[in-house]
Amino acid sequence: MSMPKAAVATEAGERVLTFAQAINEGLREEMVRDPRVVLLGEDIGSYGGVFTVTRGLFAEFGRNRVIDTPISEGGFVGAALGLAITGYRPVVELMFTDFVFVAGDQLFNHVGKARYISGGQRTVPLVVRTQQGSSGGKAAQHSQSLEALFCHIPGWKVVAPSTPGDAKGLLQAAIRDDNPVAFLEHKALYFTKGMVPAGETLLPLGKARIARPGEDVTVISYSKSMELALGAAEVLAAEGVQAEVIDLRTLKPLDLETLLASVRKTSRAVVVHEAHRVCGFGAELAALIQEAAFFDLEAPIQRVAAEDAPVPYSRNLERAVLPQVDDVVAAAHRVLERRP
């Protein structure tokens, strides 16, 4: 894969970039702007990262800004925390989200709690970039989606973009945010393409986007599952049902207002994600929506998510465990049809 030269920050206009290129450009521009931004991770240096996201940055910024680490996730997340509380703005790459469990103590007992337990003394401008989900056949230890964990333990903001443009804009905002941000990429999105603004592209954290307007049912999703939501909306449209599809973009803080406005309009909601259903982020969404809009709802909120099984290897098993467009359509049918 070859990468176009990243655009100069002052250059106007949009270009088509891949998701990986958009993140690369977002990182690069922030590194140019702010010398305190440093990257840490495995194979991110001269190799440019196993998903190509940091390509060219080592050559441009050198080994003091792009730091290749040993395979010691707990150690280098801890080191990043030490950097963050002494004036740097580290961006850590955890190669797979599954390794969150290797670095869990630093992430959840330390990074997320660092500010609060110091009574506000510490500021922790630390971004963890990682990639989640399935790209087919990577099986149980390389296909998980762990956003619920980052949302459950206080202290983290959680971002999960679905398009290259959002990825760049949200990443730049995440790097400038003074809090720990879990920036959750999706491995199957890296080589998808989309329009990306050149130069500084700040999108506020905590703002959802109405990806497709509609009147009949609200379909809420984020990250790669947006493909399922939009795919289902197409199918439903052919049936005459207008789904309003919302891309959360940020899970924490959550743009509840946008969600509720839509649900109040449609009276029906379906939430879609690739993470496991049980105690997934969809449970939080369902709980919140029914708390706030119970009397506006015509049907129970439906969750479309992964089954309660590790992600299997074999293609057809994986398809059975992970949510598909058909499942979203079926859930929409349920909320539309089910009247007592």
Binding site: V50, P70, G136, A139, Y313
Partner: protein, 317 residues
């Protein structure tokens, strides 16, 4: 100590591993196998020599680069190929794929895609042997990059403290993914880390299958005798990329070529020749292995995929 196996048998196993790996690469290229693929081409002597020193009831844990070790421990080619084709007849019924191969009946108790994570599991298997009064041993394979991971340290500390019958087998193939070993740690010989746990260490030429057998057999004998763990560092090289798709910009062609000259299959073949084993015997092995793999692949292809309705089976007992 047991007598060293016939080199021809060791050679046959190495050829089997090499050919299976090559076949898997082709299957990936065609899309019949998928996900991720970490080949051990160039490292066949470590898996083969080490497993040859084990009994059937001894256990191993492997990494994602574990096809070789799994085969060397006796898992049939067909069970591995069927697994990577995602078939119900795979050793894990299509649930594991390449990285997580298990066959309890052959003592392959765990393969893991998480660096270093098999080491404490092997320590537990060794503790199990101790508690049950068995002289069984546990061997765990891991890479040079794994020695910088926390559980490596924790597991070796327990192994040393409890003098467990575990063989800690480090395949130093010079790289952790795209990063040279010596950019990950400041010590020269990884095996020197053993001293931090009072575990004796030994370095061996990992491309010499008999040398690997010998040091492993000695470590196994020590372990069976209740003398505790041994850390083995086998110096070797992976001749292919870290994983399917790795174009290896991070290393010089020269370097690869110099290791190709020490390909473990070459080393064994020239030693066979020295010992007067004829080219025909060696050639026959190639043919037999090819036939074995052809048959296994055919059977795997004919086998059913797991049923979608059973996708959530085996989560709970």
């Amino acid at each position: 100590m047991a007598t060293r196996p016939d080199l021809l048998d060791l050679y046959r196993m190495m050829v089997r591993i090499r050919r299976v790996e090559e076949r898997l690469e082709a299957l990936f290229r065609s899309g019949e196998a998928y996900g991720s693929l970490h080949l051990c081409i160039g490292q066949e002597a470590t898996a083969t020599g080490a497993c040859a020193a084990l009994r059937a009831d001894d256990t191993i844990t492997c990494t994602y680069r574990g096809h070789g070790a799994v085969l060397a421990k006796g898992v049939p080619v067909g069970a591995v190929l069927a697994e990577l084709l995602g078939r119900e007849t795979g050793c894990c019924r299509g649930r594991s794929g390449s990285m997580l191969l298990t066959d309890l009946s052959r003592g392959v108790i765990f393969s893991t895609g998480i660096v270093a994570a098999g080491i404490p599991i092997a320590v537990g298997a060794a503790l199990s042997a101790r508690l049950s009064g068995s002289d069984r041993v546990a061997l765990t394979f891991f890479g040079d990059g794994a020695v910088n991971q926390g559980v490596f340290h924790e597991a070796l500390n327990m192994a040393g403290l409890w003098k467990l019958p575990v063989i800690l087998f480090c395949e130093n193939n010079q790289y952790a993914e795209m990063t040279p070993t010596h950019e990950g740690t400041s010590i020269e010989r990884l095996v020197d880390r053993g001293a931090a746990y009072r575990i004796p260490g030994v370095v061996v030429d990992g491309n010499d299958v008999e040398a690997v057998y010998d040091v492993t057999a000695a470590a196994v004998a020590r372990a069976r005798a209740g003398e505790g763990p041994t850390l083995i560092e086998a110096t070797t090289y992976r001749l292919t990329g870290h994983m399917f798709g790795d174009t290896q910009p991070y290393r010089a062609k020269d370097e690869v070529e110099s290791w190709k000259a020490r390909d473990p299959l070459l080393v064994a073949r020239s030693r066979l020749q020295e010992r007067g084993v004829g080219a025909d015997a060696v050639g026959r092995i190639e043919e037999e292995v090819e036939a074995e793999i052809d048959a296994a692949l055919e059977a795997a292809r004919a086998a059913p995929e797991p049923r979608a309705e059973e996708a959530t089976q085996y989560v709970y007992a």
